[in-house]
């Protein structure tokens, strides 16, 4: 029988042993002796979250297509197993071979959200890899990070040997070929890292030096050696139809968060909302052809047996082949009872028609994301929808049979006034009223409309026009949340309205980590030593462990969150070139102040700089 790293006794004593045994359908098993490079791909959160991530599936498939590499997976052991592994000194292992991570050549960690940073340290420590890059030796795997949080890698720079900036499909071959040269040759780890720093998109933090002025602002950020590049330009895929895409995705045994086949229809977003990082860093928009998607959809459904497929992107309504691909999937798979799921659709007549064809109207609720209550605020954030769009969309939805509506808002946006905040309640009330106006009494049949508004707290992110914005203090978040709540109670249709808001503790910390610099790494380390882990899990997050860490490191979190940054300030992430120029972001920041809207990329080009990649929407004929 295949051996598991954990004893039978442990597996039968923990929650969901399926998280740790591998053996899933489409898992790749190779012969250890026949590969040159062993790569452990890690999502630093629990299995069910990590297995739902498309990026891991893409890289897993792509790496394993190389006969000289065996790529395996590893996730954060849940708290029950974490304790057992520490007590009994069991090293962390990869799912496929069940071998220790320490034996691998690479440990690649995807960075999808800031609140996973302590989990990175958990994975390193359980793997018995030194937490700091500078303490690692030739025997340790090369620790590499990538994903959206790599666009400001500085708070975690000391834990990583290198970062991959941009889309994974492009530069890994070059990195692996280089590594093989070093593995067989006489040269060591530091020589490899030095050479790797010259590959496009690769950032080796140990080869750069930061100095600060007396106010604690960055004075200078530069490479230590002349042959190390001072700017790192992100990697992107030029033609989405020519890159590899998984045809045999993994099929987990246990139910995971995203338990379906994922078809990525395009990358990037034309919208340019000023708060949204993804909308900036994934520019320019690049679509896949409908033929490519049809072919992959069929192969993935056949190879997995999944009964649901989702059309994924930042804004699927903007995919130009949407109707064609949806019609194809309905025609082809209705008989086979495959569900089609369509997240991130704008609510209009066309989307509603599609949704009513693919899902049970009676059971589902519709989600709108106005993000702000007042039109003034929506102009500030460049959310390209008007109140008229919302009213028309909801009226159409009500006529189509929906009577549950969810509305997403943010609180604490730049330049926000109290009248913008209370407008969240007024707008929700008007949506409810719209139902009474649209659906005549005789057709209501005892039903009633339910509008659920939920608010999260705005966190400024690097590479957005709001990267200069001060974040609201926690007390201000709470005051605003209570103001909205109280206003809801005074609305005419308050019986049809619900309001909920997110915890503000996590938001403040996320704010520090998002725009932090290298000095934050010791806080993360301290918090981890204090026992912080799984911070993105509300029920586990313990603010006290972080509070102590900030005090012990003598770091003022308000420096990172509430301070208004000068337009000339050097940001920790300025050395990365996303293609979108800082000049463009500055101009957008100024336009936000004057409530001026910028058209989307298809309506007209605003010259953000992403055209320099020579591809995508920038070159579509308008």
């Amino acid at each position: 029988m295949k051996k598991t790293a954990l004893s039978d006794e442990i597996l039968l004593s923990i929650e969901k042993p399926e998280r740790y045994i591998g053996n899933e359908i489409n898992a790749v098993i190779k012969n250890r002796g026949e590969v040159d490079i062993r790569f452990a791909l890690c999502f630093p959160d629990v299995y069910e979250i990590g297995m739902s991530h498309l990026g891991i599936q893409i890289l897993y498939d792509m790496f394993n297509k190389r006969p000289d590499i065996w790529c395996e997976r590893v996730y954060s052991p849940w708290t029950d197993l974490d304790r057992i592994m520490r007590d009994r000194d069991i090293p962390l292992f990869a799912l496929e071979s069940q071998d220790s991570i320490k034996e691998f050549d690479f440990l690649g960690i995807t960075l999808q959200y800031e609140m996973c940073y302590t989990n990175i340290l958990q994975v390193l420590e359980l793997s018995k890899i030194p937490l700091l890059s500078c303490d690692r030796s030739e025997e340790d795997p090369i620790v590499i990070g990538g994903g959206p949080c790599a666009y400001n890698p500085e708070p975690i720079a000391e834990f990583f040997d290198l970062f991959y900036i941009g889309e994974g499909e492009t530069s890994y071959d070059e990195l692996f070929d280089l590594y093989k040269k070093y593995k067989t040759g006489k040269k060591g780890r530091s020589d490899f890292l030095r050479e790797a720093s010259k590959i496009e998109g690769i950032y080796v933090p140990s080869l750069y030096e930061v100095s600060y002025d007396e106010k604690g602002l960055i004075k200078d950020f530069s490479p230590l050696y002349p042959d190390v590049p001072s700017k790192i330009r992100k990697n992107i895929v030029k033609d989405m139809d020519l890159v590899t895409y998984p045809e045999k995705p993994l099929v987990p045994f246990i139910q995971v968060t995203q338990d379906r086949v994922v078809l990525e229809v395009m990358r990037g977003c034309i919208r340019g909302c000023r708060f949204c990082q993804a909308g900036q860093i994934y520019r320019p928009v690049r679509e896949r052809s409908v033929d490519f998607l049809k072919d992959k959809a069929k192969k993935m459904l056949d190879s997995t047996g999944q009964d649901e497929i989702t059309l994924s992107s930042l804004s699927t309504s903007d995919y130009s082949g949407l109707k064609e691909i949806v019609d194809f999937l309905i025609d082809e798979y209705r008989d086979k009872c495959v569900n089609i799921s369509l997240p991130s659709l704008r609510i209009d007549e066309f989307s509603l028609d599609i949704m009513s064809r693919v899902q049970d109207v009676k059971k589902s609720s519709l989600t709108f994301a106005p993000e702000a209550g007042s039109q003034r605020m929506r102009n500030v954030i460049n959310k390209g929808i008007t109140e008229e769009n919302i009213m028309q969309g909801s009226a159409e939805a009500f006529k189509g049979g929906w009577n549950k509506v969810k509305l997403y808002f943010m609180l604490g946006l730049p330049f926000e006034r109290d009248e913008d905040v209370t407008e969240i309640a007024h707008l929700s009330n008007r949506v409810a009223m719209n139902w009474f106006d649209t659906i005549p009494k005789e057709e209501r049949k005892g039903q009633r409309v339910m509008v659920t508004a939920s608010a999260s707290f705005f966190i400024p992110k690097p590479f957005t026009p709001f990267q200069w914005a001060p974040m609201n203090p926690p007390e201000e978040f709470l005051r605003k949340a209570h103001l909205v709540k109280d206003t809801f109670k005074t609305e005419l249709n308050h019986k049809s309205l619900k309001f909920q808001y997110h915890e503000h503790d996590l938001s403040e910390l996320e704010g520090v980590l998002a725009r932090g610099d290298r000095r934050i790494s010791k806080v993360i380390m301290k918090a981890y030593e204090n026992g912080a882990v799984f911070d993105s899990w509300q029920e586990i997050f313990d603010r006290d462990k972080w509070d102590r860490a900030f005090t012990e490191c003598d770091i003022d979190r308000k420096f990172y969150t509430e301070r208004e940054r000068e337009i000339t300030e050097i940001f920790p992430w300025d050395f990365i070139d996303t293609g979108v120029s800082k000049e463009f972001l500055k101009a957008e920041w100024e336009k936000a102040k004057t409530e001026t809207v910028t058209p989307n990329c298809r309506a007209s080009c605003s010259g953000c700089g992403a055209a320099s990649f020579g591809t995508g929407v920038c070159f579509e004929r308008r």
Partner: protein, 258 residues
Amino acid sequence: MKEGNSVIRIKFAKYGMMRYIGHLDTMRFFQRLIRRAGIDAAYSEGFSPHQIMSFAQPLGVGVESCGEYMDLEVRSLGTASDMRERMNAECAEGIEIREMSLLPEKHEKAMASVYAADYRVVFRPSHEPAWDICAAVDEFNKAPSVKVMKKSKKSIREVELKELVYSLSVCLKPIGELFPEGPLSGDVIEDNERRVPLLHMRLSASSGDNVKPELLINALGSLSGSEVEEIGRTDLFITREELYDKEMKALIEAGTGF
């Protein structure tokens, strides 16, 4: 059942890594397996249609089996051997389709017809109790009555084990033979030749009176006299070998070959 549809009974084995997969996840595994294998399953009506399948009886996590059953409604039939091969080609290591039969139009569901189950039980290395198992089995077989307290989700009540244990035997075997693939992860066998007890038992498995092997093993412990430590699920390595109906016919025999 829709006209033209048929119901097939599938006998399968679950072992190795797959014994860590719980009952609900095993069902999910089969739903996807049936799609991958291109089996023409029938689906329920409504907005979220699902395959019409039912399992004879859940198998505990950690237990292996070579006699599990499920019923599946299909819209069209191939031959059993072709369907079995197609399913086995798409299986994960540790699930194996063994047999299939076609149920008559009027049939009892697998779940309703389960009456008894055969188990093979061995103690994991270094989990063997101090008391004499062979003597306890002897005693059990001779005793006119063995009453034990049986816990269920809802209640605890006294049952007469002699009525619920249809057969029980034990023999001594070299431990190496009992774990031909090697011991479970984390266990060590020091001497392959050491002779240890191997138990075979046929127990009631009806929905009201299901007896788990642990219950009988602990009853044996009590019969041996002295105060004994409770034996838990993880002290044993259990294999379910077959499921039977009221006539003590294996469930597969309710149908015919196709």
